[in-house]
């Protein structure tokens, strides 16, 4: 066992669809996240737990990226940890290397997108939009 990263399953629900789109929902906030294609490739490994080395090797095997991609993956993981979606843990079993993909995806740095603009719509609540008097009184009245 070694240190690595695992999805915070107590408050994170996720799914990677066949078209590569990853949906992540933080149950604490209702915040919706999506990942770009390379991020979507790496996310499933972290559901069970993966070391940084696992993630880099998987990205190299699945994309046309070379060893230089390690730093971008490190940044990606740090962003996931900062959002509270993934935790650094000490009990990850390193994975065997996967066979290289014959038709590798083009590499682009993995990214997470947080839909902040949705927050206004998702969390329309009396504190923000409707006063204690209820509709039609806004909090600004």
């Amino acid at each position: 066992m070694t240190s690595g990263y695992r999805v915070e399953s107590a408050h994170v629900v996720s799914e990677v669809f066949e078209d590569g789109e990853a949906t992540i929902i933080d149950l604490r906030s209702g915040m919706y996240y999506s990942l770009n294609p390379v991020g979507s490739l790496l996310w499933p490994l972290m559901v069970d737990g993966a070391t940084l080395d696992d993630l880099v090797r998987h990205a190299i095997g699945s994309t046309d990226g070379g060893p230089a991609i390690a730093s971008s993956i490190e940044h990606f993981v740090a962003a996931l940890v900062a959002e509270g979606l993934v935790a650094e843990v000490a009990d990850v079993a390193p994975r065997a290397s996967a066979a290289p993909n014959d038709a590798p995806h083009p590499y682009e740095p993995p990214e997470i997108q947080r839909f902040d603009e949705l927050q206004e719509l998702l969390l329309l609540d009396p504190i923000h939009d409707v006063s204690a008097q209820g509709w039609p009184h806004t909090a600004r009245d």
Binding site: S9, E15, G30, L121, L122, L124, G134
Partner: protein, 369 residues
């Protein structure tokens, strides 16, 4: 230490609770009724009658002949009104869960040890336990004291078990309201307090519209998306809100609790009505879905309707369903994604006067024909 239980032990949890339900029924008698809900016939039994009306009142419009064979069952019981204590091992498990909380459950109350097995279990809210045998399609609902049933459980009874019973790869309990028109329905999406309930209730008096729900519906995307009513509950934030909807305040069933002011008091309740009790002819039970509408209060003179892209509709509809229903995940996300891709979506900018909402929705439904 995390609770770890194998399938045999998971089944034991269900068996112990089911046996205790039978014991309780032997002590105080039982009630039974069948409800056609989301394509299922669910046989609901309660041990004694303390829970019978509170837990079935919101579904009365779906009651069917008890001779119709059930496709799933829910047995509900409590300890205080029946005199049957919780089985010792279950009592100890719940005491452990009360201490460990997120160590063994997710935020919605789903017990992690039961996530992938033949039994699902969630322990949530003020010590409510729902356990479901996936293979036998048999649910158990337990709380310690029927008199302590939370008001919101009476408004949306068994929603955790209902979700587990109806969920298939193409069918899902969804956190949304719905109103029906002459030949199709509008799903009303959005988070709590976004305007779903007011929009749905504002349509009650319009002759061209029917009430389906203000909070939860079953959506089926097997072919043409359809929506089914689950509860006839209508809830608003305050009693004053009902004054804006002609004649409804007098129909509120929990005036005392609601008078304490929602959110300001630990026992405060949202005022509720049950539409089937005063306007059964205004209900629609199942309809094809024509569009998803996301109400948002904008304080306008008139309604404003704006088209939304399908991916945004998915992102708006999925989170609150996932947040509220234990054990929902990939299947629910896929179902909601399919729905959002098959029907158009709109933002509904709400006006100051809710009486202007029905005509705007009738016009939208006419455009969608």
């Amino acid at each position: 230490m995390a609770v770890s239980i194998v399938d045999h032990d998971r089944r034991e949890l269900h068996r112990l609770l089911a046996e205790a339900f039978e014991d309780a029924s032997a002590l105080v008698g039982s009630t039974a009724a069948t409800f056609r809900l989301g394509g299922e016939q669910i046989r609901v039994r309660t041990a004694g009658d303390a829970l019978a009306r509170p837990l079935t009142r919101a579904m009365e419009h779906l009651r069917v002949d008890p001779a119709i064979p059930a496709t799933a069952t829910i047995d509900a019981w409590d300890c205080t009104s029946t005199g049957r204590p919780l089985p010792l091992l279950v009592d100890h498990l719940l005491r452990l869960l009360d201490r460990t909380w997120l160590e063994d459950r997710d935020l919605r109350g789903e017990l992690r040890a039961f996530r992938d097995g033949p039994i699902r279990a969630a322990y949530y809210g003020p010590q409510l336990l729902s356990v479901y045998d996936v293979e036998r399609r048999a649910g158990i609902y337990w709380l310690r004291d029927a008199a302590a049933l939370p008001w919101y459980e009476a408004g949306a009874p068994f929603r955790v078990l209902v979700d587990w019973i109806v969920a298939t790869p193409t069918r899902q309990l969804v956190h949304a309201g719905a109103i029906g028109g002459p030949d199709g329905a509008l799903l009303l999406g959005g988070a709590a307090n976004s305007g779903k309930s007011t929009t749905a209730l504002a349509c009650l008096g319009h002759p061209g519209l029917r009430y389906m729900s203000d909070d939860y519906v079953v959506v089926d995307v097997t072919s043409e998306p359809t929506v089914s009513s689950v509860y006839t509950t209508g809830k608003l934030k305050s009693l004053d809100d009902f004054d804006r909807l002609e004649g409804l305040r007098a129909l509120v069933v929990n005036r005392d609790g609601a008078a304490r002011g929602h959110g300001a008091h630990p026992d405060a309740e949202k005022p509720m009505i049950f539409v089937h009790e005063f306007a059964p002819e205004r209900l629609a039970l199942e309809m094809p879905v024509r569009a998803i509408v996301f109400p948002r209060y904008e304080g306008l003179d008139e309604c404003r309707i704006e088209s939304l892209p399908s991916d945004l509709a998915f992102k708006l509809l999925a989170p609150s369903t996932i947040q509220q229903l234990p054990a929902t995940g990939a299947g629910a996300l896929r179902c909601i994604r399919t729905l959002s891709r098959r029907v158009p979506a709109y933002l509904l900018g709400l006006p100051t006067d809710p009486r202007k909402v029905p005509d705007a929705l009738v016009a939208l439904l006419a455009e969608l024909r």
